[in-house]
């Protein structure tokens, strides 16, 4: 791979990240996570940008489910490895649901999803005091169409990094 094509791929990666990073909600101090967002270059393997793009910060779920698919487990294996290497970070795992459900049930469902990610990361060696969970239910869809193409991306749990201690 030439230097030029590598640069192009990297730029493309950043552009993609920019448009799929609405999880830092714009409503005031509401995130409660320190709002790490993108910090550092994605080429820096210790940066949260690298975690988000190269490791993969989210896993998806089937309708009404909180079980982890093989693909989700492989993403979380990589997350766990990264978190153990980069022990300065803590994380809030956000659980989300699609809009096909009532508000309060979806809050509880999102909490289940966030917790199954947390449990998995802990089982892979991440210290549980570095992880917190929160559910947004159906309040913060990442995709806003009312089709399965969007719902499938909204049924997610996102591992959001922050520097420093959780509690």
């Amino acid at each position: 791979m030439t230097y030029l094509s590598k640069t192009i791929i990297l730029v493309a990666g950043l552009a993609l990240a920019a448009c799929t990073n609405p999880d830092r909600f714009a409503d005031g101090d509401g995130s409660g996570t320190g709002g790490a967002g993108l910090s550092g270059a994605a080429s820096d393997p210790t940066s949260s940008a690298y975690f988000q793009q190269a490791v993969g910060d989210r896993v998806l779920f089937a309708v009404d489910q909180s079980t982890l698919s093989a693909q989700a487990q492989s993403t979380l294996d990589a997350q766990a490895q990264w978190l153990m290497t980069n022990s300065d970070y803590t994380a809030v795992i956000e659980g989300h649901a699609d809009e096909q459900g009532t508000r309060e049930y979806n809050l509880a469902l999102g909490a289940r999803r966030a917790n199954s990610v947390r449990d998995y990361l802990v089982s892979r060696g991440v210290a549980d005091n570095r992880l917190r969970t929160v559910s947004y239910g159906k309040e913060r869809p990442i995709e806003i169409c009312s089709e399965e193409a969007c719902y499938t991306k909204n049924r997610r749990a996102v591992t959001v990094l922050a520097a420093g201690s959780v509690s």
Binding site: D29, S31, G32, T102, E104, Y105, A108, R112, V134, Y136
Partner: protein
């Protein structure tokens, strides 16, 4: 914000009437049944302005009374253009022939004046046109000038209840979530309005997500869920001064779905710990919580029976969300929903006989009602997304959230009669969701 509502001084003082006073048992009667009904024609001419400054109010109060009655779908207004008779003196005998000629079965007459202290004084009478007599006794209401809409609602409540035999619901308020901004980052604020959408007032700012407010039984406090700390947590807000406080919680948990007990002293809510959601109660005064359910399934969206003895709630312990009833102290629960589909957000009716719910089946959402034993399920609405029913104080009407589909999808409040008739949108300034219908005001 300063509370500027009227105090209805000497509210509903019975007004001394001449010999025409009737017992509350006139022949004018509207039975609300399940069948299709023909709305009862009525007339509400402008009130008689007994002081020059009251002229505007004379029209505005009559319009609110007429809108309340027409809005039920049970009454049909005969517009002023069709009136033959004129009411120019509140105490002169009504020329019933003029009102029979236009087929007005019910006639509401009134007079309004401003007293020395600037208060609005409204007198009114309800007439059974075809019987040629009054229905019940005339009454007088006194209130602050900026509370004139409440006086009009109280008159309409009297008309409604004397003719239908049911309690009224017009002098009531709704707390809800006002929504703005794009679907992916909706801004949400608590707001309070009269039942008809008038007199909107915001109770919180848009700095954080707020969800699912619930009125206290007396309408002076609101429980809701807020992400103020970054994590869902229950807050208690005083409606008059909008002071709020977070209720105690355990670190590392989420608490949400709060409801008042009928005596207003206890909060019934969901607490999520380790990904598992169960039902708890909290004594508001002491902050002490008691766990009611202990299952690996989701237990949420609870609602007390009006006597506080039982709780209906939503659980997916059977594999999909369904409705269950248990004793208020917890214990074994009986499943009551058995139809095809998923059931949620059960709300016990103020009369105690029905449970309203959200049902999701075959890609559509419905608001429905069933008896508390699960029998006689009836679906009242259908759309892409209907959810979150709340009962009018008299148990005849349900308000709920309807959200439209797609990128431009937006939530609005609707009402529907428990017969399934008379679906109407509640006017709100922009998007609106999660209504909680408060009690009839004192």
């Amino acid at each position: 914000m300063i509370r500027s509502f009227l105090t209805l001084l000497a509210a509903l003082t019975f007004w001394a009437m001449p010999a025409t006073a009737q017992e509350n048992s006139g022949p004018l009667r509207l039975e609300i049944t399940e069948g299709v009904i023909e709305p009862m024609p009525f007339a509400v001419p402008d009130l008689v302005a007994e002081s020059a400054q009251a002229r505007d109010l004379a029209t505005r109060i009559a319009r609110v009374i007429a809108a309340d009655l027409s809005g039920t779908g049970l009454f049909r207004e005969i517009p002023a253009e069709a009136h033959i008779g004129r009411i120019t003196n509140f105490d002169s005998p009504v020329q019933f022939a003029d009102w029979r000629a236009i087929n007005a079965q019910a006639l509401v007459t009134g007079a309004v004046s401003l007293d020395g202290a600037g208060r609005v004084v409204v007198k009114f009478r309800i007439h059974d046109v075809f019987a040629g007599q009054e229905l019940g006794r005339g009454q007088q209401l006194v209130g602050e000038e900026d509370g004139w809409r409440r006086i009009a609602h109280k008159v309409a409540d009297q008309v409604y209840s004397r003719i239908t035999g049911e309690g009224g619901y017009f002098d009531s308020r709704v707390v809800f979530v006002s929504e703005s901004g794009p679907k992916g980052e909706r801004a949400k604020r608590l707001a309070i309005v009269d039942y008809d959408g008038a007199n909107l007032r915001y109770l919180t700012d848009a700095s954080t997500i707020v969800l699912a407010p619930r009125f206290s039984p007396t309408g002076d406090r609101v429980l809701y869920t807020s992400y103020e700390t970054g994590f869902p947590r229950i807050y208690l807000l005083d409606v008059a001064d909008v002071g709020r406080r977070a209720l105690p919680t355990l670190d590392g948990t989420m608490s949400f779905a709060p409801r008042f007990s009928p005596d207003g002293r206890t909060v019934l809510y969901s607490l999520t710990q380790g990904g598992n959601t169960d039902l708890y109660t909290m004594d508001i005064a002491s902050g002490a919580s008691v766990r009611l359910t202990n299952a690996p399934s989701i237990e949420t969206a609870p609602s007390y029976s009006p006597d506080g003895s039982r709780i209906v709630f939503e659980s997916d312990r059977s594999g999909s969300p369904q409705l269950y009833i248990m004793e208020a102290r917890g214990g074994e629960a009986q499943r009551i929903s058995f139809g095809r589909g998923r059931y949620g957000t059960p709300v016990w009716s103020p009369r105690g006989d029905l449970v309203a719910f959200t049902k999701q089946a075959e890609g559509r959402f419905h608001i429905g009602v069933m008896r508390t034993d699960g029998s006689e399920e009836r679906l009242l609405t259908a759309s892409f997304l209907d959810e979150g029913p709340t009962w009018a104080p008299n148990g005849r009407v349900i308000m709920f959230t309807r959200e439209t589909r797609g990128e431009q999808g937006e939530a609005r409040l609707y009402t529907v009669d428990i017969t399934g008739r008379n679906l109407r949108q509640v006017p709100t300034n922009g998007g609106a969701s999660d209504p909680s219908w408060g009690p009839l005001q004192e």
